[in-house]
Amino acid sequence: MTKQHQDKLMITGLAWFVAVVIFFPLFWMLLTGFKTETEAVTTPPSLFFAPTLENYEEVMRRADYFKFAWNSIFISGVATLVSLMLAVPAAYAMAFFPTKRTKSTLLWMLSTKMLPPVGVLMPIFLLFRDMGLQDTQIGLIIVYALMNLPIVVWMLYTFFKEVPREILEAGRMDGALPKDELYHLLVPLSLPGIASTALLSIILCWNEAFWSLFLTTSDATPLTAFIASFSSPQGLFWAKLSAASTMAIAPILVFGWMSQKQLVRGLTFGAVK
Protein backbone atom coordinates (compact mmCIF):
# COMPACT_ATOMS: atom_id res chain seq x y z
CA MET A 1 0.00 0.00 0.00
CA THR A 2 1.49 3.34 -1.00
CA LYS A 3 1.67 6.35 1.28
CA GLN A 4 -0.83 8.20 -0.88
CA HIS A 5 -3.25 5.33 -0.69
CA GLN A 6 -2.97 5.25 3.09
CA ASP A 7 -3.64 8.98 3.36
CA LYS A 8 -6.69 8.65 1.23
CA LEU A 9 -8.00 5.80 3.33
CA MET A 10 -7.47 7.75 6.51
CA ILE A 11 -9.25 10.81 5.19
CA THR A 12 -12.13 8.69 3.97
CA GLY A 13 -12.34 7.02 7.37
CA LEU A 14 -12.30 10.36 9.14
CA ALA A 15 -14.97 11.75 6.88
CA TRP A 16 -17.20 8.78 7.58
CA PHE A 17 -16.62 9.12 11.30
CA VAL A 18 -17.59 12.82 11.28
CA ALA A 19 -20.59 12.09 9.09
CA VAL A 20 -21.80 9.36 11.42
CA VAL A 21 -21.33 11.50 14.53
CA ILE A 22 -23.33 14.29 12.92
CA PHE A 23 -25.96 12.00 11.50
CA PHE A 24 -26.44 9.82 14.57
CA PRO A 25 -28.80 12.11 16.53
CA LEU A 26 -30.96 12.49 13.45
CA PHE A 27 -30.97 8.75 12.96
CA TRP A 28 -31.88 8.22 16.61
CA MET A 29 -34.69 10.75 16.32
CA LEU A 30 -36.01 8.98 13.24
CA LEU A 31 -35.95 5.63 15.08
CA THR A 32 -37.55 6.99 18.22
CA GLY A 33 -40.42 8.39 16.20
CA PHE A 34 -41.42 4.85 15.30
CA LYS A 35 -41.28 3.48 18.87
CA THR A 36 -43.97 3.49 21.50
CA GLU A 37 -43.54 6.02 24.29
CA THR A 38 -42.42 3.32 26.73
CA GLU A 39 -39.93 1.80 24.31
CA ALA A 40 -38.52 5.25 23.71
CA VAL A 41 -37.33 5.60 27.30
CA THR A 42 -36.22 2.03 28.12
CA THR A 43 -32.58 1.50 29.02
CA PRO A 44 -30.64 0.06 27.41
CA PRO A 45 -32.36 1.46 24.33
CA SER A 46 -33.68 -1.14 21.98
CA LEU A 47 -32.40 -1.11 18.44
CA PHE A 48 -34.82 -3.74 17.24
CA PHE A 49 -38.51 -3.21 17.88
CA ALA A 50 -41.86 -3.42 16.16
CA PRO A 51 -42.22 -0.07 14.39
CA THR A 52 -45.45 1.78 14.90
CA LEU A 53 -47.07 4.79 13.27
CA GLU A 54 -49.11 5.68 16.31
CA ASN A 55 -46.95 8.72 17.17
CA TYR A 56 -47.48 10.17 13.72
CA GLU A 57 -51.21 9.59 14.00
CA GLU A 58 -51.27 11.23 17.41
CA VAL A 59 -49.19 14.21 16.22
CA MET A 60 -51.42 14.71 13.20
CA ARG A 61 -54.51 14.51 15.41
CA ARG A 62 -53.24 17.01 17.93
CA ALA A 63 -51.97 19.70 15.54
CA ASP A 64 -52.54 20.93 12.03
CA TYR A 65 -49.15 20.05 10.53
CA PHE A 66 -49.90 21.59 7.16
CA LYS A 67 -50.71 24.96 8.66
CA PHE A 68 -47.33 25.04 10.39
CA ALA A 69 -45.58 23.78 7.29
CA TRP A 70 -47.20 26.40 5.11
CA ASN A 71 -46.20 29.09 7.58
CA SER A 72 -42.60 27.86 7.44
CA ILE A 73 -42.55 27.74 3.67
CA PHE A 74 -44.22 31.10 3.24
CA ILE A 75 -42.20 32.92 5.88
CA SER A 76 -38.84 31.48 4.78
CA GLY A 77 -39.56 32.14 1.12
CA VAL A 78 -40.82 35.68 1.46
CA ALA A 79 -38.20 36.64 4.06
CA THR A 80 -35.52 35.41 1.66
CA LEU A 81 -37.03 37.37 -1.22
CA VAL A 82 -37.20 40.51 0.89
CA SER A 83 -33.61 40.24 2.05
CA LEU A 84 -32.42 39.56 -1.51
CA MET A 85 -34.30 42.58 -2.78
CA LEU A 86 -32.61 44.76 -0.20
CA ALA A 87 -29.22 43.09 -0.44
CA VAL A 88 -28.72 42.95 -4.21
CA PRO A 89 -28.65 46.74 -4.70
CA ALA A 90 -26.66 47.18 -1.49
CA ALA A 91 -24.03 44.63 -2.49
CA TYR A 92 -23.92 46.10 -6.02
CA ALA A 93 -23.16 49.54 -4.64
CA MET A 94 -20.56 48.19 -2.24
CA ALA A 95 -18.84 46.01 -4.81
CA PHE A 96 -18.69 48.50 -7.67
CA PHE A 97 -18.86 51.93 -6.06
CA PRO A 98 -16.90 51.43 -2.87
CA THR A 99 -16.17 54.36 -0.60
CA LYS A 100 -13.57 54.68 2.11
CA ARG A 101 -16.00 53.20 4.60
CA THR A 102 -17.38 50.28 2.60
CA LYS A 103 -15.14 47.67 4.20
CA SER A 104 -15.93 48.84 7.72
CA THR A 105 -19.65 49.00 6.93
CA LEU A 106 -19.52 45.38 5.86
CA LEU A 107 -17.69 44.37 9.01
CA TRP A 108 -20.08 46.32 11.17
CA MET A 109 -23.04 44.64 9.51
CA LEU A 110 -21.56 41.25 10.18
CA SER A 111 -20.73 42.17 13.74
CA THR A 112 -24.41 42.73 14.49
CA LYS A 113 -24.76 38.98 14.08
CA MET A 114 -22.59 38.54 17.16
CA LEU A 115 -25.11 40.27 19.37
CA PRO A 116 -27.12 37.64 21.24
CA PRO A 117 -30.76 37.91 20.12
CA VAL A 118 -31.92 37.94 23.75
CA GLY A 119 -30.29 41.33 23.98
CA VAL A 120 -32.95 42.86 21.77
CA LEU A 121 -35.79 40.66 22.93
CA MET A 122 -37.52 43.33 24.98
CA PRO A 123 -37.38 46.16 22.42
CA ILE A 124 -38.54 43.89 19.63
CA PHE A 125 -41.29 42.46 21.77
CA LEU A 126 -42.54 45.96 22.60
CA LEU A 127 -42.30 47.09 18.99
CA PHE A 128 -44.26 44.07 17.87
CA ARG A 129 -46.89 44.61 20.52
CA ASP A 130 -47.37 48.28 19.66
CA MET A 131 -47.41 47.70 15.94
CA GLY A 132 -49.74 44.74 16.11
CA LEU A 133 -47.16 42.42 14.56
CA GLN A 134 -47.41 39.73 17.19
CA ASP A 135 -48.30 36.36 15.79
CA THR A 136 -48.33 37.60 12.19
CA GLN A 137 -46.46 36.17 9.22
CA ILE A 138 -45.39 39.64 8.20
CA GLY A 139 -43.83 40.14 11.62
CA LEU A 140 -41.65 37.06 11.37
CA ILE A 141 -40.82 37.89 7.76
CA ILE A 142 -39.49 41.28 8.83
CA VAL A 143 -37.43 39.81 11.65
CA TYR A 144 -36.02 36.99 9.53
CA ALA A 145 -35.24 39.19 6.56
CA LEU A 146 -33.37 41.68 8.72
CA MET A 147 -31.69 38.97 10.75
CA ASN A 148 -30.18 37.37 7.63
CA LEU A 149 -29.49 40.61 5.80
CA PRO A 150 -25.85 40.95 6.92
CA ILE A 151 -24.95 37.46 5.77
CA VAL A 152 -26.88 37.85 2.53
CA VAL A 153 -25.23 41.20 1.73
CA TRP A 154 -21.84 39.80 2.59
CA MET A 155 -22.25 36.73 0.39
CA LEU A 156 -23.63 38.68 -2.54
CA TYR A 157 -20.83 41.22 -2.17
CA THR A 158 -18.31 38.40 -2.49
CA PHE A 159 -20.02 37.00 -5.57
CA PHE A 160 -20.41 40.40 -7.21
CA LYS A 161 -16.73 41.12 -6.66
CA GLU A 162 -15.97 38.27 -9.01
CA VAL A 163 -17.80 39.90 -11.90
CA PRO A 164 -15.25 41.94 -13.90
CA ARG A 165 -16.13 45.60 -13.57
CA GLU A 166 -15.38 46.21 -17.26
CA ILE A 167 -18.43 44.17 -18.15
CA LEU A 168 -20.63 46.55 -16.22
CA GLU A 169 -18.72 49.51 -17.63
CA ALA A 170 -19.25 48.19 -21.12
CA GLY A 171 -22.94 48.02 -20.24
CA ARG A 172 -22.85 51.60 -19.04
CA MET A 173 -21.27 52.67 -22.33
CA ASP A 174 -24.04 50.77 -24.10
CA GLY A 175 -26.61 52.86 -22.30
CA ALA A 176 -27.45 50.69 -19.32
CA LEU A 177 -28.84 52.49 -16.28
CA PRO A 178 -28.05 50.98 -12.89
CA LYS A 179 -31.27 48.99 -12.99
CA ASP A 180 -30.36 47.61 -16.42
CA GLU A 181 -26.88 46.75 -15.21
CA LEU A 182 -28.42 44.80 -12.36
CA TYR A 183 -31.17 43.15 -14.32
CA HIS A 184 -29.40 42.37 -17.60
CA LEU A 185 -25.82 41.86 -16.47
CA LEU A 186 -25.00 41.47 -12.81
CA VAL A 187 -27.88 39.23 -11.73
CA PRO A 188 -27.66 36.80 -14.66
CA LEU A 189 -23.87 36.66 -14.31
CA SER A 190 -23.94 35.86 -10.60
CA LEU A 191 -27.08 33.73 -10.62
CA PRO A 192 -25.35 30.66 -9.13
CA GLY A 193 -24.11 32.78 -6.27
CA ILE A 194 -27.47 34.41 -5.73
CA ALA A 195 -29.12 30.99 -5.75
CA SER A 196 -26.84 29.59 -3.08
CA THR A 197 -27.29 32.72 -0.99
CA ALA A 198 -31.05 32.27 -1.25
CA LEU A 199 -30.74 28.61 -0.27
CA LEU A 200 -28.74 29.44 2.80
CA SER A 201 -31.19 32.14 3.79
CA ILE A 202 -34.14 29.74 3.40
CA ILE A 203 -32.42 27.15 5.57
CA LEU A 204 -31.56 29.70 8.25
CA CYS A 205 -35.16 30.96 8.29
CA TRP A 206 -36.57 27.47 8.42
CA ASN A 207 -34.45 26.48 11.39
CA GLU A 208 -34.90 29.69 13.33
CA ALA A 209 -36.60 28.94 16.67
CA PHE A 210 -35.86 31.72 19.09
CA TRP A 211 -37.95 34.47 17.52
CA SER A 212 -40.67 32.19 16.21
CA LEU A 213 -41.31 30.88 19.72
CA PHE A 214 -41.43 34.35 21.23
CA LEU A 215 -43.30 36.23 18.59
CA THR A 216 -45.96 33.77 17.46
CA THR A 217 -48.66 31.90 19.33
CA SER A 218 -51.06 30.31 16.89
CA ASP A 219 -51.74 32.01 13.53
CA ALA A 220 -48.21 32.47 12.24
CA THR A 221 -46.43 29.61 13.99
CA PRO A 222 -43.83 27.83 11.80
CA LEU A 223 -42.64 24.26 12.22
CA THR A 224 -40.15 25.10 14.94
CA ALA A 225 -43.09 26.06 17.16
CA PHE A 226 -44.82 22.88 16.05
CA ILE A 227 -41.95 20.81 17.45
CA ALA A 228 -41.89 22.76 20.69
CA SER A 229 -45.59 22.18 21.25
CA PHE A 230 -44.89 18.47 21.72
CA SER A 231 -42.57 18.82 24.63
CA SER A 232 -44.46 18.87 27.89
CA PRO A 233 -43.36 19.23 31.49
CA GLN A 234 -44.89 15.89 32.49
CA GLY A 235 -45.68 12.51 31.03
CA LEU A 236 -43.94 10.63 28.28
CA PHE A 237 -43.44 12.66 25.10
CA TRP A 238 -40.11 11.61 23.55
CA ALA A 239 -41.57 9.46 20.80
CA LYS A 240 -44.16 12.04 19.79
CA LEU A 241 -41.55 14.81 19.92
CA SER A 242 -39.28 12.76 17.67
CA ALA A 243 -42.08 12.13 15.20
CA ALA A 244 -42.93 15.84 15.13
CA SER A 245 -39.29 16.81 14.69
CA THR A 246 -38.88 14.38 11.84
CA MET A 247 -41.89 15.88 10.13
CA ALA A 248 -40.55 19.40 10.69
CA ILE A 249 -37.09 18.86 9.29
CA ALA A 250 -37.98 16.42 6.51
CA PRO A 251 -38.91 19.09 3.93
CA ILE A 252 -35.80 21.20 4.44
CA LEU A 253 -33.63 18.08 4.52
CA VAL A 254 -34.97 16.94 1.16
CA PHE A 255 -34.67 20.48 -0.17
CA GLY A 256 -31.11 20.80 1.07
CA TRP A 257 -30.17 17.42 -0.27
CA MET A 258 -31.51 18.25 -3.73
CA SER A 259 -29.61 21.50 -3.85
CA GLN A 260 -26.43 20.45 -2.08
CA LYS A 261 -24.26 20.90 -5.17
CA GLN A 262 -25.38 24.48 -5.46
CA LEU A 263 -24.92 25.07 -1.74
CA VAL A 264 -21.44 23.67 -1.50
CA ARG A 265 -20.38 25.59 -4.55
CA GLY A 266 -21.73 28.79 -3.10
CA LEU A 267 -20.41 28.33 0.39
CA THR A 268 -16.86 27.68 -0.72
CA PHE A 269 -16.96 31.09 -2.42
CA GLY A 270 -14.15 31.64 -4.88
CA ALA A 271 -11.87 29.28 -3.02
CA VAL A 272 -12.46 26.42 -5.44
CA LYS A 273 -12.45 27.63 -8.99
Binding site: E169, A170, D174
Partner: protein, 376 residues
Protein backbone atom coordinates in the same frame (compact mmCIF):
# COMPACT_ATOMS: atom_id res chain seq x y z
CA UNK B 1 -18.97 65.42 -37.31
CA UNK B 2 -17.35 64.79 -33.99
CA UNK B 3 -14.69 66.86 -32.36
CA UNK B 4 -13.48 66.35 -28.84
CA UNK B 5 -11.87 69.08 -26.82
CA UNK B 6 -10.36 69.00 -23.39
CA UNK B 7 -9.56 72.16 -21.48
CA UNK B 8 -7.41 72.01 -18.40
CA UNK B 9 -8.72 68.58 -17.45
CA UNK B 10 -7.62 67.34 -14.05
CA UNK B 11 -8.30 64.14 -12.20
CA UNK B 12 -7.36 63.20 -8.68
CA UNK B 13 -7.98 59.87 -6.99
CA UNK B 14 -8.14 60.67 -3.31
CA UNK B 15 -4.87 62.49 -2.70
CA UNK B 16 -3.03 61.56 -5.90
CA UNK B 17 -3.10 63.78 -8.97
CA UNK B 18 -3.29 61.48 -11.94
CA UNK B 19 -4.19 63.90 -14.73
CA UNK B 20 -2.56 67.26 -14.13
CA UNK B 21 -4.15 69.67 -16.53
CA UNK B 22 -4.58 68.42 -20.08
CA UNK B 23 -5.51 70.62 -23.04
CA UNK B 24 -6.24 68.84 -26.26
CA UNK B 25 -8.32 69.37 -29.36
CA UNK B 26 -9.17 66.33 -31.41
CA UNK B 27 -10.32 67.03 -34.94
CA UNK B 28 -13.24 65.38 -36.65
CA UNK B 29 -12.42 61.96 -38.13
CA UNK B 30 -8.90 61.98 -36.75
CA UNK B 31 -7.28 58.83 -35.47
CA UNK B 32 -5.64 60.02 -32.28
CA UNK B 33 -3.35 57.77 -30.29
CA UNK B 34 -2.41 58.28 -26.64
CA UNK B 35 0.98 56.80 -25.82
CA UNK B 36 3.14 56.96 -22.76
CA UNK B 37 4.81 54.78 -20.19
CA UNK B 38 2.76 52.56 -17.91
CA UNK B 39 0.88 54.49 -15.26
CA UNK B 40 1.08 57.85 -17.01
CA UNK B 41 -2.69 58.21 -17.10
CA UNK B 42 -3.65 57.12 -20.62
CA UNK B 43 -6.49 54.89 -19.53
CA UNK B 44 -7.67 57.43 -17.00
CA UNK B 45 -7.82 60.13 -19.65
CA UNK B 46 -9.79 57.85 -21.95
CA UNK B 47 -12.16 56.91 -19.15
CA UNK B 48 -12.69 60.57 -18.36
CA UNK B 49 -13.70 61.18 -21.96
CA UNK B 50 -15.93 58.10 -21.85
CA UNK B 51 -17.62 59.26 -18.67
CA UNK B 52 -16.60 56.21 -16.66
CA UNK B 53 -14.72 58.49 -14.27
CA UNK B 54 -15.81 61.90 -13.03
CA UNK B 55 -13.68 64.85 -14.05
CA UNK B 56 -12.20 66.61 -11.04
CA UNK B 57 -11.94 69.94 -12.85
CA UNK B 58 -11.81 71.29 -16.39
CA UNK B 59 -14.20 71.15 -19.30
CA UNK B 60 -14.80 68.38 -21.78
CA UNK B 61 -16.67 69.10 -24.96
CA UNK B 62 -17.86 66.80 -27.69
CA UNK B 63 -18.99 68.60 -30.82
CA UNK B 64 -18.84 71.82 -28.88
CA UNK B 65 -21.26 70.60 -26.25
CA UNK B 66 -20.25 70.37 -22.61
CA UNK B 67 -20.51 66.72 -21.63
CA UNK B 68 -18.71 66.71 -18.29
CA UNK B 69 -21.88 65.93 -16.36
CA UNK B 70 -23.48 63.64 -18.92
CA UNK B 71 -23.76 59.90 -18.32
CA UNK B 72 -21.60 57.81 -20.66
CA UNK B 73 -24.34 56.59 -22.96
CA UNK B 74 -25.59 60.08 -23.77
CA UNK B 75 -22.17 61.24 -24.91
CA UNK B 76 -22.49 59.20 -28.10
CA UNK B 77 -19.26 57.28 -27.61
CA UNK B 78 -18.39 53.62 -27.84
CA UNK B 79 -15.52 51.97 -26.07
CA UNK B 80 -13.52 48.83 -26.73
CA UNK B 81 -11.82 47.45 -23.64
CA UNK B 82 -8.49 45.67 -23.35
CA UNK B 83 -10.23 42.68 -21.76
CA UNK B 84 -12.97 42.83 -24.43
CA UNK B 85 -15.58 42.89 -21.63
CA UNK B 86 -18.11 40.91 -23.67
CA UNK B 87 -21.30 39.87 -21.91
CA UNK B 88 -20.50 36.20 -21.23
CA UNK B 89 -24.10 35.05 -20.98
CA UNK B 90 -25.17 36.51 -24.31
CA UNK B 91 -24.56 35.31 -27.85
CA UNK B 92 -22.43 37.33 -30.23
CA UNK B 93 -25.54 38.75 -31.82
CA UNK B 94 -27.04 39.72 -28.46
CA UNK B 95 -23.78 41.25 -27.37
CA UNK B 96 -23.78 43.50 -30.38
CA UNK B 97 -27.48 44.29 -30.14
CA UNK B 98 -27.51 45.06 -26.42
CA UNK B 99 -27.18 48.84 -26.75
CA UNK B 100 -29.88 48.92 -29.41
CA UNK B 101 -32.15 46.82 -27.24
CA UNK B 102 -31.71 49.21 -24.33
CA UNK B 103 -32.43 52.10 -26.65
CA UNK B 104 -35.69 50.46 -27.69
CA UNK B 105 -34.75 49.89 -31.32
CA UNK B 106 -37.09 47.48 -33.11
CA UNK B 107 -36.02 43.89 -33.51
CA UNK B 108 -35.86 44.15 -37.29
CA UNK B 109 -33.62 47.17 -37.24
CA UNK B 110 -31.46 45.54 -34.58
CA UNK B 111 -30.94 42.47 -36.71
CA UNK B 112 -30.13 44.54 -39.76
CA UNK B 113 -27.52 46.57 -37.92
CA UNK B 114 -25.95 43.52 -36.32
CA UNK B 115 -25.80 41.84 -39.73
CA UNK B 116 -24.07 44.85 -41.24
CA UNK B 117 -21.49 45.02 -38.50
CA UNK B 118 -20.97 41.26 -38.62
CA UNK B 119 -20.31 41.46 -42.34
CA UNK B 120 -17.72 44.20 -41.95
CA UNK B 121 -15.94 42.20 -39.25
CA UNK B 122 -16.43 38.73 -40.79
CA UNK B 123 -18.46 37.51 -37.85
CA UNK B 124 -21.41 36.25 -39.93
CA UNK B 125 -20.80 32.63 -39.03
CA UNK B 126 -20.39 33.24 -35.32
CA UNK B 127 -23.51 35.20 -34.44
CA UNK B 128 -25.03 32.42 -32.35
CA UNK B 129 -21.95 31.56 -30.35
CA UNK B 130 -21.22 32.57 -26.81
CA UNK B 131 -18.03 34.57 -26.11
CA UNK B 132 -16.30 31.61 -24.46
CA UNK B 133 -16.58 29.70 -27.74
CA UNK B 134 -14.53 32.31 -29.60
CA UNK B 135 -10.79 32.86 -30.10
CA UNK B 136 -9.12 35.99 -28.79
CA UNK B 137 -9.15 37.67 -32.18
CA UNK B 138 -12.81 36.85 -32.71
CA UNK B 139 -13.69 38.22 -29.28
CA UNK B 140 -11.90 41.42 -30.12
CA UNK B 141 -13.91 41.67 -33.32
CA UNK B 142 -17.14 41.22 -31.39
CA UNK B 143 -16.08 43.99 -29.02
CA UNK B 144 -15.45 46.23 -32.02
CA UNK B 145 -18.73 45.12 -33.57
CA UNK B 146 -20.53 46.10 -30.40
CA UNK B 147 -19.07 49.56 -30.82
CA UNK B 148 -19.90 49.81 -34.52
CA UNK B 149 -23.61 49.01 -34.24
CA UNK B 150 -24.12 52.06 -32.10
CA UNK B 151 -22.79 54.33 -34.86
CA UNK B 152 -21.02 56.40 -32.21
CA UNK B 153 -19.60 59.86 -32.77
CA UNK B 154 -16.30 58.76 -31.31
CA UNK B 155 -14.70 55.35 -30.86
CA UNK B 156 -12.53 54.85 -27.80
CA UNK B 157 -10.03 51.99 -27.64
CA UNK B 158 -8.02 51.06 -24.56
CA UNK B 159 -5.12 48.84 -25.63
CA UNK B 160 -7.48 46.65 -27.64
CA UNK B 161 -4.75 44.51 -29.15
CA UNK B 162 -2.49 43.86 -26.21
CA UNK B 163 -4.05 40.50 -25.35
CA UNK B 164 -3.48 39.12 -28.83
CA UNK B 165 -0.44 37.30 -30.12
CA UNK B 166 2.03 39.13 -32.34
CA UNK B 167 0.74 37.90 -35.71
CA UNK B 168 -2.87 38.60 -34.88
CA UNK B 169 -1.93 41.99 -33.56
CA UNK B 170 -0.42 42.97 -36.89
CA UNK B 171 -3.51 41.74 -38.71
CA UNK B 172 -5.95 43.52 -36.39
CA UNK B 173 -3.87 46.67 -36.67
CA UNK B 174 -4.43 46.70 -40.40
CA UNK B 175 -8.10 45.90 -39.95
CA UNK B 176 -8.55 48.77 -37.53
CA UNK B 177 -6.81 51.18 -39.87
CA UNK B 178 -9.07 50.06 -42.71
CA UNK B 179 -12.09 50.27 -40.47
CA UNK B 180 -11.20 53.84 -39.61
CA UNK B 181 -11.03 54.70 -43.29
CA UNK B 182 -14.29 52.94 -43.98
CA UNK B 183 -16.29 54.38 -41.12
CA UNK B 184 -14.60 57.76 -41.31
CA UNK B 185 -15.18 58.21 -37.60
CA UNK B 186 -13.22 59.98 -34.92
CA UNK B 187 -11.18 57.45 -32.99
CA UNK B 188 -9.11 57.72 -29.84
CA UNK B 189 -6.77 54.86 -29.22
CA UNK B 190 -4.64 54.11 -26.18
CA UNK B 191 -1.55 51.98 -26.50
CA UNK B 192 1.92 51.64 -25.11
CA UNK B 193 3.09 49.97 -28.30
CA UNK B 194 4.76 52.64 -30.32
CA UNK B 195 4.60 50.65 -33.53
CA UNK B 196 0.81 50.79 -33.23
CA UNK B 197 1.04 54.47 -32.48
CA UNK B 198 3.31 55.25 -35.43
CA UNK B 199 1.41 53.16 -37.95
CA UNK B 200 -2.18 53.96 -37.05
CA UNK B 201 -2.21 57.51 -35.84
CA UNK B 202 -3.04 60.72 -37.60
CA UNK B 203 -1.90 62.39 -34.43
CA UNK B 204 -0.03 61.03 -31.47
CA UNK B 205 -0.41 62.44 -27.99
CA UNK B 206 2.59 61.60 -25.82
CA UNK B 207 1.73 61.58 -22.14
CA UNK B 208 3.97 61.43 -19.14
CA UNK B 209 2.94 61.52 -15.49
CA UNK B 210 -0.45 63.01 -16.27
CA UNK B 211 0.76 65.73 -18.61
CA UNK B 212 0.95 66.02 -22.37
CA UNK B 213 4.55 66.16 -23.55
CA UNK B 214 3.81 66.67 -27.22
CA UNK B 215 1.07 66.32 -29.78
CA UNK B 216 1.81 65.80 -33.44
CA UNK B 217 1.81 63.55 -36.46
CA UNK B 218 3.94 60.41 -36.13
CA UNK B 219 6.70 61.80 -38.32
CA UNK B 220 6.59 65.16 -36.60
CA UNK B 221 7.27 63.44 -33.30
CA UNK B 222 9.95 61.32 -34.92
CA UNK B 223 11.78 64.16 -36.63
CA UNK B 224 10.94 67.06 -34.35
CA UNK B 225 10.56 65.79 -30.79
CA UNK B 226 10.05 68.71 -28.48
CA UNK B 227 12.10 67.29 -25.63
CA UNK B 228 14.31 64.43 -24.54
CA UNK B 229 11.38 62.42 -23.21
CA UNK B 230 9.53 62.35 -26.52
CA UNK B 231 12.76 61.78 -28.44
CA UNK B 232 13.51 58.75 -26.29
CA UNK B 233 9.98 57.44 -26.28
CA UNK B 234 9.27 57.56 -30.01
CA UNK B 235 11.41 55.28 -32.15
CA UNK B 236 12.73 51.81 -31.62
CA UNK B 237 15.42 51.06 -30.67
CA UNK B 238 15.55 54.19 -28.55
CA UNK B 239 17.47 57.30 -29.60
CA UNK B 240 21.10 57.47 -28.35
CA UNK B 241 21.97 60.37 -26.08
CA UNK B 242 25.40 61.80 -25.21
CA UNK B 243 26.29 64.57 -22.80
CA UNK B 244 28.06 67.24 -24.80
CA UNK B 245 29.30 70.80 -24.93
CA UNK B 246 28.89 73.55 -27.51
CA UNK B 247 32.17 74.52 -29.20
CA UNK B 248 30.90 76.93 -31.83
CA UNK B 249 27.53 78.62 -32.14
CA UNK B 250 25.90 81.50 -33.92
CA UNK B 251 26.09 80.33 -37.55
CA UNK B 252 23.66 78.13 -39.46
CA UNK B 253 25.03 75.17 -37.53
CA UNK B 254 26.00 74.63 -33.93
CA UNK B 255 29.11 72.56 -33.36
CA UNK B 256 29.14 70.26 -30.38
CA UNK B 257 31.53 67.69 -28.93
CA UNK B 258 31.08 63.94 -29.10
CA UNK B 259 32.47 61.32 -26.72
CA UNK B 260 36.12 60.67 -27.56
CA UNK B 261 36.86 64.20 -28.70
CA UNK B 262 35.18 64.33 -32.10
CA UNK B 263 32.75 67.06 -33.05
CA UNK B 264 29.67 67.39 -35.21
CA UNK B 265 28.02 70.45 -36.71
CA UNK B 266 24.27 70.30 -36.22
CA UNK B 267 21.92 72.49 -38.26
CA UNK B 268 19.70 73.95 -35.56
CA UNK B 269 18.27 77.34 -34.71
CA UNK B 270 20.63 77.63 -31.80
CA UNK B 271 20.64 81.40 -31.49
CA UNK B 272 20.55 81.28 -27.73
CA UNK B 273 23.43 78.80 -27.40
CA UNK B 274 26.92 79.97 -26.47
CA UNK B 275 30.23 78.05 -26.58
CA UNK B 276 30.78 75.97 -23.43
CA UNK B 277 27.00 75.53 -22.91
CA UNK B 278 26.14 72.02 -21.76
CA UNK B 279 23.79 70.22 -24.14
CA UNK B 280 22.67 66.68 -24.90
CA UNK B 281 23.13 65.26 -28.38
CA UNK B 282 20.56 62.74 -29.57
CA UNK B 283 20.88 60.56 -32.63
CA UNK B 284 18.79 57.58 -33.68
CA UNK B 285 20.38 54.13 -34.18
CA UNK B 286 19.18 54.02 -37.78
CA UNK B 287 20.98 57.29 -38.56
CA UNK B 288 24.44 56.20 -37.43
CA UNK B 289 26.72 54.78 -40.08
CA UNK B 290 29.45 52.22 -39.39
CA UNK B 291 32.57 52.70 -41.43
CA UNK B 292 36.36 52.73 -41.46
CA UNK B 293 36.35 56.29 -40.33
CA UNK B 294 34.05 58.37 -38.16
CA UNK B 295 33.83 60.82 -35.26
CA UNK B 296 32.92 58.08 -32.78
CA UNK B 297 35.01 55.03 -32.02
CA UNK B 298 34.13 52.13 -29.82
CA UNK B 299 34.06 48.43 -29.05
CA UNK B 300 31.22 46.13 -30.06
CA UNK B 301 29.62 44.55 -26.96
CA UNK B 302 26.68 42.66 -28.42
CA UNK B 303 25.57 41.90 -31.96
CA UNK B 304 21.86 41.28 -32.54
CA UNK B 305 21.10 39.98 -36.01
CA UNK B 306 17.51 40.23 -37.17
CA UNK B 307 18.22 39.15 -40.74
CA UNK B 308 17.12 42.33 -42.44
CA UNK B 309 19.10 44.50 -40.05
CA UNK B 310 21.68 44.24 -37.31
CA UNK B 311 21.73 46.03 -33.99
CA UNK B 312 25.23 46.72 -32.74
CA UNK B 313 25.55 47.64 -29.08
CA UNK B 314 28.75 49.63 -28.83
CA UNK B 315 30.69 51.09 -25.94
CA UNK B 316 32.24 54.42 -26.92
CA UNK B 317 34.79 56.58 -25.13
CA UNK B 318 33.63 57.70 -21.70
CA UNK B 319 31.78 54.44 -21.13
CA UNK B 320 28.61 55.52 -22.97
CA UNK B 321 26.72 52.68 -24.60
CA UNK B 322 25.03 53.29 -27.90
CA UNK B 323 23.04 51.26 -30.39
CA UNK B 324 23.69 51.36 -34.12
CA UNK B 325 21.31 49.90 -36.64
CA UNK B 326 23.46 48.49 -39.44
CA UNK B 327 22.54 46.49 -42.53
CA UNK B 328 21.71 42.80 -42.25
CA UNK B 329 25.03 41.72 -43.73
CA UNK B 330 27.24 43.85 -41.53
CA UNK B 331 30.21 41.62 -40.64
CA UNK B 332 30.94 43.14 -37.19
CA UNK B 333 31.62 40.73 -34.35
CA UNK B 334 31.78 41.03 -30.59
CA UNK B 335 34.90 42.91 -29.35
CA UNK B 336 35.58 44.43 -32.79
CA UNK B 337 36.70 48.02 -32.65
CA UNK B 338 34.74 50.11 -35.10
CA UNK B 339 34.20 53.70 -36.14
CA UNK B 340 30.86 55.43 -36.52
CA UNK B 341 29.97 58.42 -38.63
CA UNK B 342 27.61 60.94 -37.17
CA UNK B 343 25.87 63.14 -39.74
CA UNK B 344 24.98 66.55 -38.36
CA UNK B 345 21.58 66.70 -40.14
CA UNK B 346 20.39 63.64 -38.26
CA UNK B 347 21.34 64.91 -34.80
CA UNK B 348 19.04 66.50 -32.24
CA UNK B 349 20.23 68.93 -29.60
CA UNK B 350 18.61 69.34 -26.22
CA UNK B 351 19.44 72.14 -23.79
CA UNK B 352 20.07 71.66 -20.11
CA UNK B 353 16.35 71.60 -19.28
CA UNK B 354 15.82 68.78 -21.78
CA UNK B 355 14.04 71.01 -24.29
CA UNK B 356 14.91 70.43 -27.93
CA UNK B 357 16.73 73.13 -29.87
CA UNK B 358 14.55 73.59 -33.00
CA UNK B 359 16.00 71.99 -36.08
CA UNK B 360 16.82 74.34 -38.92
CA UNK B 361 14.93 72.40 -41.56
CA UNK B 362 11.45 71.07 -41.11
CA UNK B 363 11.14 67.51 -42.36
CA UNK B 364 9.00 67.43 -45.51
CA UNK B 365 6.76 64.62 -44.23
CA UNK B 366 6.34 65.98 -40.72
CA UNK B 367 3.13 67.78 -41.58
CA UNK B 368 1.68 65.29 -44.07
CA UNK B 369 -1.32 63.19 -43.17
CA UNK B 370 -0.99 59.48 -42.68
CA UNK B 371 -0.78 57.38 -45.85
CA UNK B 372 -0.91 60.52 -47.98
CA UNK B 373 -4.59 60.93 -47.11
CA UNK B 374 -5.84 64.30 -48.21
CA UNK B 375 -7.58 66.60 -45.83
CA UNK B 376 -11.32 66.89 -45.96
Amino acid sequence: MATVSLHNIRKTFGETDVIKGVDLDIADRDFTVFVGPSGCGKSTLLRLIAGLEDITSGTLQIDGQDVGDMPPAERGLAMVFQTYALYPHMTVADNMAFSLRLAGVSKQERQAKVRDAARILQLDQLLNRKPKELSGGQRQRVAIGRAIVRSPKVFLFDEPLSNLDAALRVQMRLELTRLHERLDATMIYVTHDQVEAMTMADRIVVLQAGRIEQVGSPLELYHHPRNIFVAGFIGSPKMNFFPSEVTAAGGPTTTVTLPGGGTVAVPVEGGHLRPRDKVTVGVRPEHLICGDDGQLKGEVLVVERLGGGTFLHIEVAGGEQIVVQASGDNPARTHDRIAIQVAGETCHLFDETGKAVPRAQRHPLADAKRGGRSDG
